[in-house]
Symmetry: C2
Subunit: 385 residues, 2 copies
């Protein structure tokens, strides 16, 4: 099996791109990645996307994007694992290079959430949950997370205010990320008084609906220096799953798929959680940040918000999270999010994160979550030494 590295990255600014369709968004990221490497051809293209079928009536994004960027003919298809689609596509690209079946592979995540011409975005996002046993009861994807947050607050005697720092930290880091959707700081007072979305989740607990695309180019590590001055090794890219429906889980407040996926990743690299220098977690909602920190082994059960309050999660803390703004501040174009996390982590481990740089970031971990935790993909990145 070949060792795999990232040799190029590309991303579009996250936001409301009313003038761009899904192919344009993906195209921008893909072409930026090719320009980053200085190549005009790759062997294959894997696209992570969740809801283009529902919102734009457009499946079949692999061939569509390949053709749009001038790569007509190459191997291409789409990978989907709800909001975990981006990193699931990375997993496929990783396998393609690791196997020796391909030498230069493009992986892109893309989502177009504004301007839905088919189903509403809210309905489309519900397809991440159990369509037979959860959604018919009138749940939305936000309200599923609200159930989790309410139960967490009850079980662990945590107040809503206790989640504030998770949102404040993400927004603080987004200010200096030019590709982030939001550049406004959030205060504790704003957090507490934000408009309610689905009790207890308020506006500042929630990541925004957004458009965006991000891409990387992979190649065998032994050839990485031919293509890049700052290649990044994929030390692990592992997948864990759980039931889609909350009510089927052993313990809804423990993200078992995150535990499985993290433990697999740590074992692959031969490290422990404490060896990780920063953690790009999937903060679709503040409750998801808390559950991720606990399941991945960074905080004890019920203690994640305490960790956040102690300043550990800031750029200069022991475990920086959401270093470029996270889903909350950078924005959460669902099928693209996993690839934004990878692009941002690659910038961090190569010391190119500018004002957002985590000091001495060597080993970075990104974790992309599909649904309320049914598919979780953990990727550990390290710069070439």
């Amino acid at each position: 099996m070949r060792d795999v590295s990232i040799v190029g990255i590309g991303q579009t600014a996250v936001g409301e791109h009313w003038d761009l369709s899904v192919r344009h968004l993906a195209g921008q990221a893909v072409l930026a990645a090719m320009e980053d490497v200085g190549i005009e051809r790759v062997d294959s293209l894997y696209i992570g996307n969740m809801i283009s079928g529902e919102t734009a009536g457009q499946e079949h994004l692999g061939a569509l994007v390949a053709d749009f960027v001038g790569l007509r003919g190459i191997e291409a298809f789409r990978v989907e694992a709800a909001c975990g689609s981006g990193a699931a596509a990375l997993r496929v690209g990783y396998m393609a290079v690791a196997s020796g079946l391909a030498d230069l592979v493009m992986v892109a995540g893309v989502e177009k959430m504004t301007d839905a011409v088919g189903n509403s975005v809210t309905a489309a996002l519900g397809a991440a949950a159990d369509a037979d046993y959860e959604m018919p009861h009138g749940l939305s994807f936000v309200s599923i997370n609200a159930l989790l947050m309410r139960r967490y607050m009850y079980e662990f005697d945590v107040k809503h205010d206790d989640f504030a720092e998770l949102s404040i930290n993400a927004h603080r880091n987004a200010v200096t990320n030019p590709n982030a959707m939001f550049h406004n700081r959030v205060t504790r007072e704003q957090f507490v008084n934000a408009r309610m979305i689905a009790d207890p989740i308020n506006l500042l607990d929630s990541s925004p609906v957004a458009d965006g695309a991000a891409a990387v180019i992979l190649c065998p590590s032994e050839r990485a220096s031919e293509y890049s001055d700052h290649p990044v090794r994929i030390r692990a890219c592992t997948v864990g799953t759980d039931s889609l429906a909350l009510h089927d889980r052993r313990d809804p407040l423990f993200l078992e798929a995150a535990y499985i996926s993290s433990q697999k990743a740590y074992a692959t690299v031969g490290i422990k959680a404490e060896d990780i220098d920063f953690f790009e977690l999937h903060d679709a909602f503040t409750i998801m940040s808390a559950l991720s920190l606990e399941a991945a082994g960074f905080a004890r059960r019920g203690q994640a918000t305490q960790l956040a309050k102690e300043g550990v999660i800031g750029l200069n803390g022991d475990l920086p999270i959401s270093t470029m703004g996270g889903l909350k501040g950078r924005g959460h174009p669902v099928g693209a999010t996993g690839m934004y996390q990878i692009v941002e982590s690659a910038l961090q481990v190569t010391g190119r994160a500018g004002p957002n740089q985590v000091p001495n970031a060597r080993l970075g971990m990104a974790q992309n979550i599909g649904g309320s935790g049914a598919t979780i993909i953990t990727t550990i990145l390290e710069a070439h030494s």
Copy 2:
């Protein structure tokens, strides 16, 4: 890179399963494949599916099916390339085993087309085509194929009747396939007089909307004998692409993605088209059979229907096609079709196709088409010697 073999198969009968949802269909095929091998665990599960998001509001089938069949926790996600989703998932499973990242991999294709609770099936299938430049003109997926058929008839001076044998052959073979949707023979007279769907495509040119699921278990070839008495080597599994929109193609009557994908497959195995013993082609419409036979190198341009009339395509002919009924007779549950082709081809090359057996079938080729030809995946199978 490791050589990869199929060691187990499973399939549900194709038909209208009003009492089964997408998870039940997939579950039946997956459990049948596990029973075939006599195992209760695999390392990962890749699901090919096209329209579950649109018709059932259910994305995220990887984790859903893994959980449903008792495999909660394992790596799982979905792969999509329109009607080519089944074989695209096989490609991912192939890479997983070839790379050494997994030893036992389940690949399943599933589609639930009856009982759509969201978009209509017709609208959902349109997502295989170009949503910005084809569908807004009022096209359906059938009418896109009708444009191809009309143009083919004009360019090559072929009459509608000339396509009859393609439909007759498929139905003839479906009669003795217990998993086929249709068990009625079709006469030339019935073909000629069948109800018009989208001129010149009539009912007997068209494969039916159906429910179904099919699955295989993969492992490294060197360990195949531990799991199966009739293992099948995947000699090649290759992907080619083209533009989604017909008007963007160099020549709409030449399936360039089929040409690319077939040539890659032949080169991988080191053979020519004439070495293939049977060809499970993607006869969603009779025109697609003709275009496939030509692009894959079995007939000259405009000559495919002539080939069919000469009896070449029958079970005892030089190039049997649709040997278990094809999409026309077995049925075309879109995201599952590619995996039905693989299951049927595996039965053929191991001499287990019963009354449908192609004599001395050694090298079999299956070709799964996404859209009107934008993604085409070619798989060449051979029994272990």
